[in-house]
Amino acid sequence: MNAAIKAIDYYLPERVLSSAQLAAEFPEWQVKKIEDKTGIRERHIAGNDECASDLAMRAARKLFEGGACRPGDIDYLLFCTQSPDYFLPSTACLLQDRLGIPISAGALDFNLGCSGFVYGLGLAKGLIETGQAGRVLLVTAETYSKFLHSRDKSVRTIFGDAAAATLIETVDGDGGPYIGPFVFGTDGRGAEDLIVPTGGMRRSRSAETAIVMEAESGNWRSQDNLYVNGPKIFEFTLRVVPQSIDTLLRKAGKRMEEIDFFVLHQANQFILDHLRGKMKIPSERFSVALSNTGNTVSSTIPIALKDARDSGQLGSNWLTMLVGFGVGYSWGATLVRSP
């Protein structure tokens, strides 16, 4: 009994933030400079009343409308977000009702960022291969834009909102598993390098935490906004990604040349180019898929997989390596083959 990715679809909010719009807001920046640095031409931004569950619902409906299965066929819903609709209840419960998933289904939220998709696949595989579920809907959805200060160009150039819905189900498999093995990693020493400091129970939002202050390189933000320590995150990435790839290859008994395609978390083009060069991966076997989405956190990997499959860059049954890394610090890598 093997679990495999059966189908993926995604939804991007209608509102678009182009590099030209950002250049107009920040006159010291040029469109070309923004695009060269990030590889991003446009990001999609959720509406004021549009939350993670709204994006998630649209992504899942697209998946169902594409004929992958019906809502009634889902017996477990895994929902990954760091920008939930409410503290409680779980957004997964709202989504179960809105999508018409049976009340006999299990549903839960898990809070991870850029590593979330890989962790979700690990959870789904565990549920399916131990007989707890037959068809798992894994939904990743973020509205990070709501955490960003309008005058913080360092993050507004990078992040976009999105949701992706992935169907994982049992397949009759010969020739080994369709998902796995896995490498996971966690290092909470990096917690403060990518953080929204307030809004949880540790520190409530207040007039004091909302005071906007000038930070590095002419960016402005308050304690209520998302903060990213770029150099620390980059150093973490340089240490962890190559090591995770090596460990995964050893665990799977594979060599680099045997991996048909690589999808790393689409953080930004600068990091992707550097990692690709460092790992000596040919560009045709390496996904760069963020120019019209930006960094959509836990949805970058499923979006890149779907785009690569639709464009023919990724073929059926290709052995594909997925690597997610970021906030936490948290990271994970796995191999997938999708029939």
Binding site: K37, S154, E216, G230, P231, K232, L238, F270, H274
Partner: protein, 78 residues
């Protein structure tokens, strides 16, 4: 300061900042170098990783004030 170390760090820095070779000297203050901003720090880290396979410690890198300080950091992490 090791002269060879200073020369190699100025080379890497010129490459990262896309400056002509030989435009930087050891005692030069980083703050006086045009383009030495948050992106330049990432580019320098990437260039050091590419050339020497060293992931520089960001806190120590940000504390550097001169090109010589960068050279000393490279030696220390080598």
């Amino acid at each position: 300061m090791d002269v060879v170390a200073v020369i190699s760090v100025t080379e890497i820095l010129c490459e990262a900042l896309e400056l002509p070779d030989g435009t930087l000297s050891g005692d030069q203050a980083l703050a006086d170098i045009e383009n030495w901003d948050s992106l330049a720090i990432l580019k320098f880290m990437a260039a050091v990783d590419k050339r020497l396979g060293i992931a520089l410690k960001p806190n120590k890198l940000i504390a550097c004030e001169t090109v010589e300080d960068l050279a000393a950091l490279l030696q220390q992490q080598r």
